[in-house]
Amino acid sequence: MTITGAPPRIEEATQAPILQLSVTDLSLRFGEATVLDGLDLTLGPVGCTMIMGPNGAGKSLLLKLLHGLIKPTSGRIDWSGYSAADVTARQAMVFQKPVLLRRSVAANLDFVLRSRGKDRDRCHALLDHVGLTHKADQPARLLSGGEAQRLALARALATDPEVLLLDEPTASLDPASVLAIERIVSSARDRGVRIVFVTHDIGQARRMADDVVFLHRGRVAEHAPAAAFFPEPRCQAARDYLNGKIVV
């Protein structure tokens, strides 16, 4: 019998670091449709990597593959010797549309702290960190989009991840909410959490990126330091994308 949603093994935090990441010849197909087509990627141990690219380039699915939520059709994901499924518990992911439990803001956070065996007294400090202390007792599902994402971030940070995977967490949010989330993510990066951030927002990528991975047609079209990528992208698709042209 299999339990759907059964977690991958939780490794002990005392194990060797899981970075760097090496992805080799990664492919993902759904029937006839090819989403990722022989993708290669290497990520170093620190910093914030922004993953960009047009819709359908496979950004979100790449993130889920790296997190071990789905299995590739072929290819290899190597987190310093661990498979993606082996290190899911050492990462945290914030989805574009966060799923919040049908309980209060504080109870959402407490649930994660309790389930993962963390110190439950950290709840208020985490809420304070994301600016939601005043909403602690409110139903989580009545939060605004920006507040819901901040709670999702607090929940992710509550698991003390080594890698934080963010799938367009600021899509459709107002500038103040975007700024609040970017500050929280930057502070996590400054504490040594490795950030992998999917975004469509070029301005955000410029503000946050240490390096940029540009995906196009299921492959890495370009991977470069931010300082080199934004002034002069090497590939045509990235140039067009940054110039506001429609890239398909």
């Binding site: 949603g5 059964a6 977690p7 309980r103």
Partner: protein, 235 residues
């Protein structure tokens, strides 16, 4: 035998004066059916949750059986429990036949499948929404089940209500294993059956009124709780 009009007047009088017989019968009914509902929830909810998040060969057969058991005929359940608890049955030594305990057992068997099948559907729908987040958080199956049961609590109230409604309204099972013994195992439905057959419509009507009032009150209470919960986006 009274006319229907006189019977209704007498019934109101019995309800309003709080006849001792009536209170005893209503009290036992509630005790039996609430206990059975409680036990059925204890059995049915974890079972429903486990099936909701599990995938295994033959799952569709299990689902079909769970759904089919929702329609268990009360008299058949009564008969099966009777056979187990009768003096010559395997559990006859317990001396439970014709006791409220036997009635609770029969009603629990009757409504546990209802709770399991209905909760399975509710929890499976919720799990579709939560599954990816739960995998990301690395929750184990028990943590997932606990979270699903708690988050579906207001929807599951309706399941509990369906179970309680079935229990408090059924007559077939409790009359077989309880025997409708005065001051011992007489409950509302068996009283109505007995008094109607005797032609004493007043008591039967009075009990009927109480039964309807209980059903309406419980439904209204659950509806109010769900409305409050919906306002907080907890449904």
């Amino acid at each position: 035998m009274h006319s229907i009009g006189e019977s209704i007047a007498l019934a109101f009088q019995l309800v309003l004066t709080g006849s001792a017989d009536l209170i005893e019968i209503v009290g036992l009914s509630l005790q039996v059916s609430l206990s059975a509902t409680g036990f059925a929830l204890l059995i049915g909810l974890p079972l429903g949750a486990l099936v909701a998040i599990s995938r295994f060969p033959g799952r569709n057969v299990v689902l079909a059986v769970m759904n089919a058991l929702m329609g268990l005929p009360p008299v058949v359940v009564g008969l099966l429990v009777y056979l187990q608890l009768s003096r010559s049955g395997p559990l006859g030594f317990l001396g439970l036949l014709y006791t409220p305990t036997a009635m609770i057992i029969a009603q629990t068997i009757l409504i546990a499948p209802i709770v399991a099948a209905l909760s399975r559907q509710i929890l499976e729908d919720l799990h579709c929404e939560y599954a990816e987040q739960f995998r990301s958080l690395c929750l184990n199956p028990w943590q997932s089940m606990e979270a699903l049961l708690w988050d579906a609590r207001f929807s599951l109230l309706t399941v509990a209500l369906a179970g309680f409604g079935r229990a408090v309204a059924e007559v077939g099972a409790v009359i077989i294993v309880g025997g409708n013994i005065d001051h011992l195992t007489r409950v509302m439905t068996t009283s109505i059956a007995l008094e109607t057959s005797k032609g004493d419509l007043a008591l039967a009507l009075a009990i009927g009124m109480v039964l309807l009032t209980i059903a309406l009150t419980v439904n209204a209470a659950v509806q109010m709780m769900r409305t409050t919960a919906a306002r907080q986006a907890y449904v």
